[in-house]
Structures are given as structure tokens and as C-alpha cells.
Subunit: 264 residues, 2 copies
């Protein structure tokens, strides 16, 4: 049976959807859910397994299931077999049966700054929220570790959620918030930035399985080619939290005039 | 063993990488490969199964394999177990061992106009090409059918590839080309456009499996909310081919000043 959440619909409290890409039992999601509980009534709909690097993948040629999860008191929580974007769609159309007032994704264990925004399941969930017209934000800690100190990230999430609820967000955008891997008291502040021109120099480990067959594992080094001081990478290198407004209009408007010169 | 392509490295002929998200044996990929052969030396690296809706997913927590495929004479072709973006990375770093001069993705069986650009594996492969600094383009036919008439799309691909090779593309962008579902002679022309504000009104079919357990299948209707005459949806509705330049800088620059007013 599908279990619809027994929401504590306290009047005037916003309904907040929490999701992530590290899976419903990741420590980062627990911290974000605790922050969300301070600000509103919370429903969690998150993947039942890690879905890092899933980008904006959506399940169109297969089925989805979801199940109730015992996450923490006072929070209705569900796991799904789908991607982070599937979680957002399922949450809106089958769990909540309405759009939440806020969508929070994360706290991701690992950076989603610069080009990582396009690979990140955490950020794709937030972007899907923007597509659905929901003020949405993805949080990522630069500390990959499962046992990361997330107290700085907790504080940042609290400040950002407070501002989101007070000010809202312009239509069609969401926020990409990355938090340096340092103790809370060493954070220097929060900066609004643009996405840096920083990329992965990819490579693959070439390995042989026990049966003698080749396989490959993606690896690579991250490199910042951008000398700008207004970028997310610059802020993070200097122990500032980076906040980048992100949108889903991928049109490169500046390139249109050149293309209009083509012989088409 | 890994088979490196036995490339017919005819001097002065560009090296063209072809991929898609419908799988290496899709008719659309065959047509695009035939077009590419007219213009250069072609290597195909494409998924071994349909990967529609995979967005910018990349395999970071699992392995990849690739195998030689007998696709057509004079073309080195490989299938991989990965996503379209994985195919591009594997092609560059393990098959070709260099960046190709051009990357063509498609011809997709189904539209990738407006918001579909973010869900589309076809377009994510092209965008990954742009990230890698390769002039890249994704082609999609509005006809979903496996037996679609792709002669119009073939002609358009030929014209666009010719222009790409003559003019190149501005750094950091790729092209999203959609072709109306009509006979070639009914195409009215090619228009450079912006991405329309058109979205899916999602829903889920709620079904019960033979064991009595619930499952869900994504469905929905597509709706264009954009009245602009400069959009891809407008062009396609009027039987024009749409060409949208697409980039991977997702920063919503217009939203930065508002955020700088926040109490952070």
C-alpha cells in the first residue's frame, strides 16, 4: 500500500521537502532534516541507495517504488528506488499531492561547485524543484567523508533557509550552496558567486576482472582554469561559503548572433 | 582486450565521434554515422542499450566496459555499458586517446527541445563534448518511432555538420538541433532560437504488480507556456528546424543582485 504522510500540518508553518543523492540514511540528509524541522513541517523523499553523479537522470523506461522509512521523530520519510529527480517528482505528485513551499537537497558529502553542478544528483534535484516552481536549494560540504563535521554546514543551511523563507527566490532559479571543509568557527562568511570555469581532467583506471576481462573506472583530477575572484572556487579556496544562483535556461544567448551568420 | 580503432586517418579529414542515447543499433545513429562519413573519419562510441532520460549521469561508483560492434563498413564502432556522457569520456580517453574534431549525438528518436535539454542523454553527450572543448551538436527528430522517416533529419545534419566544420563554434557551447516530424520537402527552413519555457505536467501511473505490490510509472503532458516567436517550440510548431546554442554555465547572473541583499 502507498502510505501518504501523516503530516503535522501546523497552520502557517511551511511544508519543506528534503531530498539528496547520497541516500535516505546519509548523515548529511539527517542534519538538513533537523535544520528543516526548525523552520517548518518536513517530509523526506530520498533515494534508497547512493545516486551520486546521476545528474538530471529520470526514470522513463522503468518502474519506481517507494517505502516508508523510520528516520526521526516528527518527520514523514520515504525512500524511492529512483534518482534524485525521480524523488522530487514522486514527492510532489504521489506523496505530498501538492508542491511544497521549499525544497532542500543535501547536505551532499562532497563538493558540487563549478562544473560539478551538471553531474550532481543533489543539484539536479534542486534544479527540478526550480522547474516545478518551488524555491529550492542544494547544499554540499567539501568534506567527502561519511563522518564529516557538518556543524558549519548546519549553520549555513539554517541561515540560507531563513533567508529563503523571508525573501523567496526569483522564478526559475535555485541555489547551489557549497561549504568549505573546516570547523564552523573558521568559516569566513557567505559569498554570492558565479560558477567557475573549472573542470575535470578525466582518466580511466584500466583493470582486469577475475575472469580476465577488461573493465574501466572513471578517475581524474579537478583543475580550476578561472582566475576570477567572483567565482565559487575562489570563495571556497578562501574559506567562504559559495552561493551560486542556477537556472535551467541553458540557452547561450551570446552565441545566437554568430549562428545567424551560417549558411542555413 | 581493449581494441583501439583502426582509423582510416586520411590526411586532412576531420575525426568525428558519433554517439547517442538510444543505443548503438538505433536507426537514428546509423543515419548520423552515414552523414558523418561524408565529412570525415568516423568513430562511434554509443551505449549498448537505450539510455533515454539519463541526463548528465556519469558512472562514478561502478565499472564500465566496452566492446567492438560491427556497424557499417569503414567505421570503427564500440558499445559501452555506460551512459551517453560515459561514452564521450571513454571515447576521448580510452578509444581515440585524443579529442575528436567534432562530436555528433543522435539522431534521437523523440524531441529534445525546450526543457527536455536537461533530461536528455543525447544533449548531455553533446554538452559533455562542449565541456571537453569539442565542437558538438545533438540532433533529435520529433518522430519517436523506431521506423521514423529520417530523410529530413539526414539533410539537416548534413547542412549543420558542413557549417560546424567551416565556422566552428564559440567556446563552451554546443548545439541542440530538433527536426520536425515531416517529409524532407515540407521542412520550411532552419531557425536559430532560444529554449522555450515549456514544461512537463507530470503524473504517475499507479499500478499493482503480480505479487500485489504497488509501483509507479512516470507519465505526463507537455505544455508550452511561452508565447515568444523566437523559441524552439515556436519554430518546430511552424515546421522549421530549431537550433539552440546551449552552454554549461548554469549561473543565473540576473539573480545575483537580489541575493546580495540577503542577510548573510
Amino acid at each position: 500500500m502507498v502510505c501518504l504522510p501523516d503530516m503535522a500540518t501546523t497552520e502557517n508553518r511551511p511544508l519543506i521537502l528534503v531530498t539528496n543523492d547520497d541516500g535516505v540514511f546519509a548523515p548529511g540528509l539527517r542534519v538538513l532534516t533537523e535544520v528543516a524541522k526548525k523552520h517548518g513541517d518536513v517530509v523526506v523523499v530520498a533515494p534508497d541507495k547512493p545516486q551520486s553523479g546521476m545528474g538530471h537522470a529520470v526514470t522513463i523506461n522503468g518502474i519506481l517504488r517507494f517505502a516508508t522509512v523510520d528516520l526521526m521523530e516528527g518527520v514523514s520519510a520515504y525512500s524511492t528506488t529512483g534518482t534524485p529527480v525521480d524523488c522530487v517528482k514522486l514527492a510532489i505528485f504521489k506523496v505530498l499531492n501538492r508542491k511544497p513551499d521549499l525544497l532542500l537537497s543535501g547536505i551532499n558529502h562532497g563538493a558540487n561547485s563549478s562544473i560539478n553542478v551538471i553531474y550532481s544528483g543533489t543539484m539536479s534535484a534542486a534544479l527540478e524543484g526550480a522547474v516545478e516552481g518551488i524555491p529550492s536549494v542544494g547544499f554540499s560540504s567539501l568534506d567527502h567523508s561519511h563522518s564529516a563535521d557538518l556543524e558549519g554546514a548546519r549553520h549555513v543551511a539554517d541561515v540560507v533557509v531563513g533567508n529563503m523563507l523571508r525573501h523567496g527566490l526569483a522564478e526559475g532559479i535555485c541555489l547551489n550552496v557549497n561549504i568549505p571543509a573546516c570547523p564552523k568557527e573558521q568559516l569566513k562568511g557567505i559569498r554570492v558567486c558565479r560558477q567557475a570555469k573549472a573542470f575535470w581532467l578525466d582518466d580511466f583506471d584500466h583493470r582486469t576482472d577475475p575472469g580476465g576481462k577488461d573493465y574501466f573506472w572513471l578517475t581524474g583530477k579537478f583543475k580550476n582554469f578561472d582566475k576570477g575572484e567572483d567565482t565559487d572556487e575562489f570563495a571556497l579556496e578562501h574559506q567562504y561559503v559559495s552561493v551560486v544562483p542556477v537556472h535551467y535556461d541553458l540557452t547561450a544567448y551570446h552565441a545566437i548572433p554568430q549562428l545567424q551568420q551560417w549558411e542555413i
